[in-house]
């Protein structure tokens, strides 16, 4: 077996549906229309009922799972020679199908709330609101707090943010399966990097402030605070939860690549990115072997100009890197290696 072979990629730019051709644009329009219908109409509810599903969100969960599994089959047909991709996708898709769909569906049968064990604050923006926590059984509330404030950053320090973004998260799972055909469309320019840095850290600040306001409003604050907090909560849910994560994040897969949301707007990614910079994860560069071909940069779904580091012999850690492993996989000279072997550092630069 050639467990690192790259042959699956070779005709990417000769497939119009993957290159903003008419089919690509139509797929994008269809995805955006789907999200608008899902979020702002009830048209899907009768469909869900007809299928015997509890509500339209489980219809969405089912479609999501089908998209992931189909996309994973496509992805592994192309890159299945990578052992890293095999293991990673098997874990990620299983977690999503089980924890993101099946378990929440059956939990009410055992008189438990529908709970998603694989989503944490701040991605799940309401997870730490006092009213949310109070409504949960104790072990779930503990998991929500522990997962967001201890587990996620600690694991990111040790293994990089990939433990979440490429191994657990549902947004990542869809991006790396259903979205994989378009990963080369992510912009790689310095300008896009500048936008990313501003946008994602602003998202984090907005998410933290909104959460703090809601916590205040639901605990000590008077009705005035609670009112403002409520509006912020609504606004955040609309802009981040629906528009940026769904309509833009997924709808624009065929135009701007599969990680628009993860790269520019996800507050969880921002937080884990900061801990990743201080942690042990890095991409190691073999000295003076890079031929500057550009495969790594092209196939980076986060738009990192990997080549810029590789051709300068710089091992590096970028906050946005989700550790999907594609750069190492596609490099025809075996220059790159993901590893979690650096000593912890306090350099947040």
């Amino acid at each position: 077996m050639h467990l690192q072979a790259q042959a699956g990629l070779m005709t990417t730019y000769r497939e119009p549906w993957r290159n903003r051709g008419v089919t690509g644009v139509l797929i994008s329009v269809a995805l955006i229309a789907f999200y608008c219908v899902l979020y702002w109409t009830e048209w899907l509810s009768p469909v869900a009922e007809a299928l015997g599903l509890r509500n339209k969100w489980f219809l969405y969960g089912g479609l999501y799972s089908i998209g992931m599994i189909g996309g994973a089959a496509y992805m592994l047909r192309r890159h299945g020679t990578s052992r890293y991709h095999q293991v990673r996708l098997a874990v990620n898709v299983s977690i999503q199908v089980i924890l993101g769909f099946a378990l929440p569906y059956v939990m009410p049968w055992f008189e438990q709330p529908e709970y998603y064990f694989s989503y944490f604050w701040p991605l799940k923006y309401d997870a730490l609101y006092p009213h949310t926590l109070q409504a949960l059984p104790g072990y779930m509330a503990v998991w929500a707090v522990f997962g967001a404030l201890v587990l996620a950053p600690a694991a990111s320090l040790l293994f990089g943010k990939r433990w979440y973004c490429s191994w657990v998260c549902g947004c990542g799972a869809l991006a790396n399966t259903f979205g994989d055909p378009w990963r080369h469309l992510t912009p790689t320019s310095t300008a896009s990097w500048r936008f990313e840095k501003v946008a994602i850290h602003a998202s984090l600040v907005i998410a933290v402030v909104t959460t703090l306001m809601v916590v205040l409003g639901q605990t000590v604050g008077g009705t005035a605070v609670a009112g403002i907090a409520d509006e912020m909560k609504q606004g955040y849910g609309f802009v981040f939860g629906s528009i940026l994560a769904g309509v833009v994040g997924t709808g624009l897969y065929p135009i701007l690549g599969p990680r628009v949301w993860c790269r520019n707007f996800c507050p969880m990614a921002a937080l884990l990115g900061l801990t990743q910079k201080a942690g042990r994860f890095r991409i190691r560069v073999k000295p003076d072997m890079c031929i500057s071909c550009g495969n790594c940069t092209t196939y980076c779904e986060m738009g990192i100009d990997v080549r810029a580091y590789a051709q300068n012999n710089e091992s590096f850690t970028r906050a946005s890197c989700v550790g999907c492993g594609m750069c190492a996989h596609v490099c025809p000279r075996g220059v790159l290696k993901l590893e979690a072997g650096q000593p912890l550092s306090v350099d947040l630069g």
């Binding site: 077996m1 050639h2 790259q6 005709t11 730019y13 000769r14 052992r83 003076d288 031929i291 025809p332």
Partner: protein, 450 residues
Amino acid sequence: MRIVVVGNGVAGMEAAQAARRQLPTAAISVVSEESDHFFSRTALMYVLSGQLSHAATEPLERDAYARLGLVRVRARAIGLDPARRLLLLAGADPLPYDRLILAPGSRARPAPWPGSDLPGVGSFVTLQDLAWLEEEIAPPKTTDRPPNEWAHLTSGASDSPYRRRRSAAQARGRRAERPVVIGGGLIGVEVVEAMLALGRRPTFLIRDDWFWPIALDAQEAGWVADELRAHGVDARTGTEVSALEGGPGGVERVVTNKGTIEADLVVVAIGVVPNTAWLGGVVPTDRGGGLLVDASLRTAVDDVWACGDAASVPMPDGSHRTEPLWYTARAQGRLAGRNASSPGAPAPYARGTWYNSAKLMDIEYTTAGQLDGDMWRFEEAGAVRSSTRIAHREGRVVGFNFLGRRWDHSVCARWIEEGRPVRYVVDHLRQAAFDTEFVLPLVVPNDRRP
């Protein structure tokens, strides 16, 4: 101070950047016939197959000239007047210089057979070759339009490696279906791989008894040949071409010592030669045309340096040689740029232990050092197929050849420089492993250790 660099390949651009670091205000011009922007020649096969866009092959962002304050001169250099310190250009005024850095790279070794100038016959070294070959064999891309730089300069000579040729496919009204690739080396196998991706089953003609004999032994090459055949390539070893035949429409047959092969496209990949004929011998060269330089990369002509594929550099054994490699071109470019622009003592070119890596179809290849002496060999064929060959003399390692796994050549080179015993190296091989995560490590059983 006026610095002129001929060539915007990796050597020329590294030289220009190094000179800029030394001299923040000097006027630095970069002359290029091939293209406006520096691109990665090593990525040509990926653009041909469709794995990369044209733009993706450019290692620097397009504002690089402006950012570095370099003047770009898109023109063909046609000679040198060292007495008046002028670089002569076709269709433009001569360019005066105080320091000249020559980095004109290499061109395809010309095909020696009758019929080599038929339409449908070409090489694969330049951007214009890529344009020609795409037209011959590949469906057009929908979004990735080739950059304008493809248009060859009308002032270019008819023997320029950067001339744009008409394809046989255009005259025929149909793309090539029966391609033949001549030359069993790295460029040959890259063209074959791209053609496979484009849905063709090329015939691959190799003169030697096995593929790439300067790098692989018969057993290693046998694996590559199996891989080629498994993908449907008609790989023929021991096959010597004597003529190419066809009509005005283009090539139709390749005549060899082992019979005649039908063909509607022939790519000749029999090596490269220094692209220095345009200098007309003004700068002394070795027998192959490589520009002779001393250890500081200076030529025998005053204030002229050379680097990259076109330079014939001194080797540790005292001989001079050209090395058509990306990493040597980069290192030499950097050094030539520094030495040509720095007032201090010139730094010498230090050619360390030889190494290289490649991908032969789907097989990863890494080499370091010299492969002569006694051999220790180990092959595995389980979850991973790999072949490891370690050469040693008097018990000390001198070279490595690896197929099927990734290795850190710098660790291997260090072992060679330290003169490590072969047993030590095999025991510590894991320190040089560079496989991606979850690939099971190489395990050498005790009774197979040297």
